[in-house]
């Protein structure tokens, strides 16, 4: 309808001016490299600063019996996920895909991986060590962590917006999402990908590079 109206009445000079300004802005914004990755979660404006959602403080133990905390990822980018070693449904696919991420980031010491078990009673440090070893993970860039069950579930749900909980009605006893979360150097979530889909993981690998180049 509006189109017809403007067609009937030639645009005024003000309209033309506005149009050219708008198209100039559009063209300029296209030239400014690519759109930065989104920042997930709620944000608050405090004075002139924007405070973003960040990963809450945590302390877990990895496959080498070392403490893994927020500090482990200081000035690093990391990818987080939730799994358990005896899961037959989506975890093996997730691990196949995460292995691709691990290999694609082999020469990036600033990119790490954090895999949380959601079955810490069964997945002990020794078992995670064996699991990592059998998966072919040699470097310390990929942490397989265990800890207090409730802390793991809580951080999954409140910090990473991922699903992880026990459910005895499930054949394997747990419900969890197959999400891979991309966390930036400021501990903010910058991407969420389906870790069971190859194309999504391809995008994650591209986004990791994008995030590394971010100033």
């Amino acid at each position: 309808m509006n189109w017809r109206k403007t067609g009937q009445h030639p645009a005024t000079s003000i309209q033309r001016l506005l149009l050219s300004i708008a198209s100039a802005i559009f063209i300029l914004s296209c030239q400014v490299s690519e759109k930065p990755l989104p920042i997930f979660g709620q944000r608050e404006v405090v004075g002139t600063d924007t405070v973003y959602h960040t990963i809450a403080p945590f302390a877990f133990v990895d496959q080498d019996s070392a403490w893994v905390t927020n500090n482990t990822f200081k000035d690093n980018i990391y990818v987080a996920d939730f799994f358990f070693t005896t899961c037959r449904s989506i975890c093996p696919i997730m691990k196949t895909q995460m292995l691709r991420v691990y290999k694609a980031t082999a020469d990036m010491p600033d990119v790490k991986i954090l895999s949380h078990t959601i079955d810490p009673e069964y997945d002990t440090v020794a078992l995670l060590h064996d699991f990592a070893d059998r998966l072919g993970v040699k470097s310390a860039r990929w942490h397989f962590v265990t800890g207090v069950k409730d802390s793991i579930y809580k951080i999954a749900q409140t910090s990473y917006f991922a699903t992880a909980m026990e459910d005895k009605t499930e054949p394997d006893g747990f419900i969890h999402s197959g999400a891979f979360l991309l966390i930036d150097k400021k501990q903010r979530i910058r991407g969420k990908y389906d870790g069971t889909k190859e194309e999504e993981v391809n995008k994650l690998i591209v986004d990791i590079q994008k995030l590394r180049e971010e100033k």
């Binding site: 070693t85 037959r88 093996p92 059998r134 998966l135 072919g136 394997d172």
Partner: protein, 145 residues
């Protein structure tokens, strides 16, 4: 919808049971085709997450089904573990695997035969059709040896 598929499967089964009777080479029979196609669907549902679509396994976690000496040499055990699972150390191609595999007790003997037919005739495996009667006998004997 699913009922229609079931009826179709039943009909194909009925049809192929006539064909396979006079077939010396089950690999070309309609029954074989049916087992193979069904087996592929079941494989994707129950097995490929760990053993991968190409049967290559994953690291030293999940053993390969393609080019696997274990598969070739332990047919009876493989049929049993498809249904009952397996745990403890397992040597495949000289590599020790030790990831427990849970059983799939809900699988019928027909379904086990279909999965076995699929994995034993895919990639480089060429064992030929696995009959339900073979599976029944092997499942009955599970744990005895």
């Amino acid at each position: 919808m699913s009922r229609a598929i079931l009826i179709l499967i039943f009909f194909i089964g009925l049809l192929s049971s006539c064909v396979s009777g006079n077939s010396d080479k089950p690999a070309g029979s309609a029954k074989y085709q049916q087992y193979y196609v069904q087996g592929e669907v079941l494989y994707k549902n129950y097995c490929s997450n760990c053993h991968q679509a190409d049967g290559s396994g994953l690291g030293r976690l999940y053993p390969p089904l393609n080019k696997s000496d274990f598969l070739t040499e332990n047919f009876a055990s493989v049929v049993c573990l498809i249904k009952n699972g397996v745990s403890g150390e397992l040597i495949v191609n000289g590599v020790m695997y030790n990831q427990p595999m849970k059983g799939n007790p809900a699988l019928t003997e027909l379904e086990v035969a279909e999965i076995a037919t699929y994995i034993y005739n895919t990639w480089t495996n060429q064992k030929g059709m696995i009959e339900v009667s073979e599976v029944t006998a092997l499942l009955d004997a599970c744990g005895e040896n």
